[in-house]
């Protein structure tokens, strides 16, 4: 049966809470209300108020508390109402959670669910893609699924991982995409990218909502004889350089596509690693397609101009193919 991306996330939470008594959730409006996006709907009724805890409006407190619980062997899953507000818990994440194992050798098995991304007319404070804020910080794992199956499998993996994992769930995808999800207890291992569309001309390395746009661009270019290979990173930290490398060796042309701003974005690191490690396989300069160096504008006309889309991706891919 096909389910939405949002339902896939809920299923993973449900199954993990059934499987492991240590798993519990903290966040604003996640219980009675079922979450701002209704991701946690029904979980309070099923698991009770000690495992689905509505918190005060205190990001730093509930992330810090989750770290404390993780230290004691619990498996907390925290929901940010919007990933933008993760900034309010930044210190706990980057200074406490991220560094603890390196310093002291004790694991912090924590998952922070971060609904992120634009395209929903929500303006500068409810649309950001903050993954790069955390990409720089050693000790955090970052995942960003783009399909229902990956959403489910990666959330299960994140919950079972002994490290702090930020799980970036794209708000635009919540109800916009559906897909088959394995019934069985299937894990998508952290750290594994996947080729979502094999091709031969250009490697498009992407994740999140940009996967769909990249696939759409690929369809569009097929009639022109341009055959995009679309690599879905799925995990941003650690990067799956092996999958990236095999695609680069195949096509010799690389384009990195993400929704977050280009400046200081993850694409820059990917491009640098390819240049450092795979230069001899490149037939053309590496290209990045990403948002500009501005906040996410509110007005739909501006937001549309801000976000990469199948046209901008196809246009750049066409240039790259002809290099």
């Amino acid at each position: 049966m096909e389910i939405t991306y949002l339902e896939a996330i809920r299923q993973a939470l449900w199954e993990e809470m059934e499987r492991d008594k240590r798993v519990f959730m903290l966040g604003e409006d996640i219980g009675v209300y079922g979450g701002a996006f209704k991701v946690t709907k029904g979980l309070l009724e099923k698991f009770g108020p000690e495992r689905v805890i509505d918190t005060p409006l205190s990001e730093s407190a509930f992330v810090g508390a989750a770290i404390g619980a993780a230290l004691m062997g619990m498996r907390p899953v925290v929901e940010m109402q919007f990933s933008d507000f993760i900034a309010c818990a930044f210190d706990q994440i980057v200074n406490m959670a991220a560094k603890h194992h390196y310093r002291i050798g004790e694991p912090i098995p924590l998952v922070i669910r971060a609904p992120y991304g634009g395209g929903i007319h929500a303006g500068p404070f409810h649309s950001q893609c903050p993954e790069a804020w955390f990409f720089h910080v050693a000790g955090l794992k970052l995942v960003a699924p783009s399909t229902p199956a990956d959403a489910k499998g990666l959330l299960k993996a994140a919950i079972r991982d002994p490290n702090p994992v930020i799980y970036f769930e794209h708000k635009y995808l919540y109800r916009h995409i559906k897909g088959e999800v394995p019934d069985s207890d299937t894990i998508v291992p952290i750290g594994q990218a996947e080729v979502k569309r094999p091709g031969s001309t250009v490697s498009v390395i992407t994740y999140g909502a940009m996967l769909q746009h990249s696939l759409a661009a690929a369809e569009r270019l097929l009639s022109e004889g341009i055959d995009l290979e679309v690599v879905d990173l799925r995990t941003l930290q650690p990067l799956d350089m092996a999958t990236i490398a095999s695609s680069v060796k195949k096509t010799g042309r690389v384009m990195v596509v993400h929704e977050a701003p280009k400046t200081g974005g993850i694409g820059g690191e990917i491009a640098a690693r390819i240049a450092e490690e795979l230069f001899q396989y490149l037939d053309a300069p590496i290209v990045r397609v990403a948002a500009p160096h501005t906040p996410v504008p509110f007005s739909p006309v501006l937001e549309e101009a801000y976000l990469p889309n199948p046209d901008t991706i196809a246009g750049k891919a066409r240039e790259l193919a002809g290099f």
Binding site: E28, D29, V32, Y33, A36, D54, P56, L57, S58, E59, S60, A61, Q81, F82, D84, F85, A87, C88, H121, A122, G123, P124, F125, H126, P292, H293, T294, P295, P297, F298, S299, P300, V301, L302, E304, A305, Y306
Partner: protein, 324 residues
């Protein structure tokens, strides 16, 4: 000027006008939202207008506000026009943020409004900084900083109050205690009864007032403002009120007991103030109609203006990230 002066007739009518203008504009926004002409969030202060308006009525023209998302009335009293407000909601170039931000996320420091941002309580330390500047420059100006009951759970709230108290800054912290933060009721937000109780921890006065009594709000804030202006430091004023609609318009607020809403509906701040004005013979049918007609006309002009305004030009997308 210590002590609170009683409002003259003109001021009472001014308060009436802004209460009604606020309600009227927001009602119109609901219609536009339902017609699909507004995209994104719609945040209203329905039933809480007395806190914004009563507080702003206690300020001098060159005082500054740090509004939260339920303070349209205070914004209007600081000079935001109905036209700009409507254009802001319709994401037009003529909106206060020229389409860069939406709905209640706007400001204009030239008019004494610190631009609101979404993360709750973030403006409170900023308000303290504006107040610090007044103090350093020996200006007898005051900041009124608004926030919700939920916002008072954030560290920024606590840091701002402590900071302002230690530095004795001319700021008045004003809480819309509207019983809910999104779906979270007060009992899940704090283990105390009154937000004003938090003041004690920081060494400032904490006053709880009936937030649906616009003159009670005005008087309490006026006293706190006088104290701040005299150099005696910050205060916390809590207005008890009720969020009468969903958190935003997408939210049907089915988690709010209907009886609670009924109870508060009977205490509607505008109905109460209207009755008071009529009782005091400040308002009669004719003068009420004259004001209401003027408001209706202003609202329709605002909608017309907003609808006929241009959209932002995508050529400007990259402009203005940095100051020149």
């Amino acid at each position: 000027m210590m002590g609170v002066q009683q409002p003259a007739q003109a001021e009472l009518l001014n308060i009436y006008y802004y209460l009604k203008l606020t309600r009227g504009l927001e009602q119109r926004v609901i219609t536009l939202y339902r017609q699909g002409k507004i995209v994104g969030g719609v945040y209203l202060g329905t039933g809480e207008e007395a806190i914004a308006v009563g507080s702003a009525a206690a300020l001098e023209p060159n005082d500054v506000i740090a509004p939260t998302h339920r303070d349209l009335g205070a914004n209007l009293m600081k000079g935001i026009t109905p036209k700009e407000y409507m254009a802001q909601y319709l994401a037009k170039q003529t909106g206060i943020t020229r389409g860069r931000d939406g709905n209640v996320h706007f400001g204009d420091i030239r008019r004494g409004i610190i631009g609101f941002i979404s993360p709750m309580a973030d403006l409170l330390p900023v308000a303290a900084g504006v107040a610090l500047t007044f103090k350093l420059r020996r200006e007898r100006r005051v900041v009124a900083a608004f926030f919700g009951d939920g916002a008072s759970s954030r560290g920024d709230f606590h840091e701002a109050l402590n900071f302002a108290a230690v530095l004795k800054l001319p700021v008045v912290f004003i809480c819309h205690n509207n019983q809910y933060a999104y779906s979270t009721p007060l009992s899940r937000q704090m283990a105390i009864e009154h937000v004003a109780d938090r003041a004690k921890a920081y060494g400032m006065p904490g006053i709880t007032v009936d937030g649906n009594d616009v003159l009670a709000v005005r008087d309490a804030v006026a006293e706190a403002v006088a104290r701040a202006r005299a150099g005696d430091g910050p205060s916390l004023v809590e207005g008890k009120t009720m969020r009468m609609r969903g958190h935003a318009e997408h939210d049907d607020a089915s988690y709010v007991p209907p009886a609670l809403l009924e109870e508060w509906r009977a205490r509607d701040p505008i109905d109460r103030f209207t009755a008071y004005l009529r009782d005091q013979k400040v308002l009669d049918d004719a003068s009420a109609k004259a004001i209401d007609d003027r408001i209706a006309k202003e609202i329709e002009e605002a909608v017309l203006f907003a609808e006929s305004s241009p959209l932002p030009d995508t050529k400007d997308l990259l402009e203005g990230v940095y100051a020149a």
